[in-house]
């Protein structure tokens, strides 16, 4: 497989289109399972890094799916891209997991314990589940608002520690101004199709005529179709959102003076309000089609895997 650069204008338009289609197809296939989606996650982060580099005037690295850069030995050339994607994917997932698991695990526990208690009619502790969920969500919102900036900072720095450089991340968020809210709005909108994707299988007998009477093999084919659609949606949406995040982050880094304190708070509150769409959509998605893993990973916050 060939490599492409993230630099615009290097390839002619047909070549770039072919490259985009290839990237979408490869990314979609990798997003079919949580494990292989790590590779896609790594590639997305590396592309983010290349975009930030290009927009900040640095030399963008070459980002390939499998092939590595030339001139560093044949092993690196043959598999360097894949190795870099895996390494980047693991580090990205690790950083994101450290930031998000505290509240996503609390969501999972709150849901399980809340309904377990409800099933057993534990009137005495009926408030525990909802209370834990609300506290976890309150803690999640500022993290979610800053998450694309933390990810972009990591993509630019290529150090795990970059995920946790809170001061720098907050500074970039503040410097982004209204664009941080725009990014939150795009993320909130992206929540909608993933929510729809959770509900789609529930109504399969209405969508696919004769589904109930199909053989298990034919039903499996339908299931594969749904999975492929979900993987394509996850990869395509993440490619778009991560590129937007990279562009906004790069612009923020070049901005010399951050906005006033009042404006920073306003943008933060608006971004947090928009990010509320994510936990709400996850909850309603679980009502429709339950999967405990979906509490822990959503394409917007961890793996580009739609479940």
């Amino acid at each position: 497989m060939s490599t492409v650069t993230a630099r615009g204008g290097v390839l002619a338009l047909p070549g770039r289109l072919i490259g985009l289609v290839r990237d979408l197809v490869v990314g979609m296939l990798l997003c079919l399972s949580p494990l292989t989606s790590l590779i896609a996650l790594g590639w997305l982060t590396r592309v983010m890094g290349a975009t930030i580099a290009r927009r900040t005037g640095a030399e963008p690295p070459t980002v390939g799916w499998i092939l590595g850069p030339r001139g560093q030995g044949w092993v690196t050339r043959a598999l360097g891209g894949l190795a870099a994607n895996i390494r980047s994917g693991v580090l990205t997932a690790l950083g994101l997991a450290i930031l998000t698991l505290p509240f996503t695990l609390a969501w999972l526990g709150a849901w399980w314990a809340g309904w377990e208690n409800s099933f057993n009619k534990g009137y005495e502790q009926a408030s525990v589940g909802p209370l834990v969920w609300m506290i976890a969500t309150a803690a999640a919102l500022p993290i979610l608002a800053h998450l694309p900036f933390a990810l972009a900072h990591f993509a630019a720095q290529r150090r795990l520690g970059a995920f946790f450089e809170v001061g720098q991340i907050r500074q970039n968020f503040a410097a982004a101004g209204w664009r941080a809210v725009w990014l939150a709005l795009l993320s909130a909108l992206a929540v909608v199709p993933f929510f729809g994707l959770r509900g789609l299988p529930v109504f399969v007998e209405g969508i696919v005529p004769g589904f109930a009477d199909m053989t298990p093999e034919d039903q499996l084919q339908v299931a594969r179709g749904f999975a492929l659609f979900g993987a394509g949606l996850a990869f395509g949406t993440m490619l778009f959102l991560r590129q937007r995040a990279a562009a906004i982050y790069a612009r923020a880094r070049l901005r010399p003076d951050p906005p006033a304190r009042l404006a920073r708070w306003l943008w933060l509150i608006l971004a947090m309000a928009l990010w509320l769409a994510l936990p709400v959509a996850i909850v309603f998605g679980q009502f429709l089609n339950y999967d405990p893993l979906i509490w822990l990973t959503h394409p917007l916050i961890l793996l580009p895997w739609a479940g």
Partner: protein, 382 residues
Amino acid sequence: MDRRTFNLGLGATAAALGLPRAATAREYQGPNVILVRFGGGVRRVETIGETTTYAPYLRHELTRRGVFIPDMRIAQLDGVDTSHAEGTLNLLTGRYLAYRDAGSQFLLDRLEPTEPTLFEYLREAYDIPAHRALLINGEDRPQEEFFTYGVNEHYGIAYRSEMLSLHRFKLYKNAAILAEGTVGDAALEAARREYADLMAADPRAITPDQSPDVTGFWQRWRAHYGDDGLRNPRGDRLLTALAIRAMKELQPRLMMVNYQDPDYVHWGNPSHYTRAIQVIDEGLQRLVETVEADPFYAGNTIFVISPDCGRDDNPLMGVPFQHHFNTASAHETWAVIFGPGIERGKILDKPVDQSAIAPTIAALMGFRARSAEGDVLSEIMT
């Protein structure tokens, strides 16, 4: 004429005429019937599957005692939905779509029967007081609190059943607290508010007072369990406790027990579904043992056990049976019927429509469910 006006008129007529049907109705000599709704919504595989059942007493013991109908179906008709209130009314009226909306809200369906229920037919045909035609309802399905009578012109409130549920207990308890006036102002205000809320939940124009016998039942229940609701059995175990206590104290001739907790799987935890099936199975065993130990019921009681609806069987979902959204599998149920006058150890191995339950119970009790669409299952009778 709207529903409330109609009901008010009917109630006023019944009151003015002093419920004359009691004077002409015959004394009931037939068998008692306990109709168990194995709700809310279960698949065949977890209930009647030979090796996959979570209800071993039902599958391995009760099916041998009478007639086992493994292929009962809810008809695929326009407008027929596979849900709890609908299924319950199908079982009680023997007719599909025998209900109308009585103020449904988002995620809270509220239906009322438009055709007579089994209770109304029974009480019209025989001299049986309301407290001996009983519905036992759970706390999570307040929608089914109000199936005690329908809005049919020739039946209705005069032939209603009584209801035993936490809703009814709270009505009694709050009325008693207010009448006693021995608690503080805050507690009185709380009782007044809860009583008003409970009354407001009833969409019908008339909420009949609970009969003196049922009031006595709640008086004894309150003396035993107190006011706080933390000492009585909970969930579907509460329904078993209510049914057993009712058999001892009220001796119902026809009683429907509306189990419901398998429906908890809507929220995604499969073990709630399987555990709830086990709880109902234990409840069935206690009901049967109570009947066998009680001279009034022993040898003279027919059990009819059937789900309100099936559940989805969706291989595309992590929990294939999370819902019952009118899928093919949600139309598939079953029934187990046993007792005097019923064949023993028989499997009725043919598709049977859910609307057959009501006219069959009617035939077993010696009256006719005139509006029922289903056939009487005469082949199950000895």
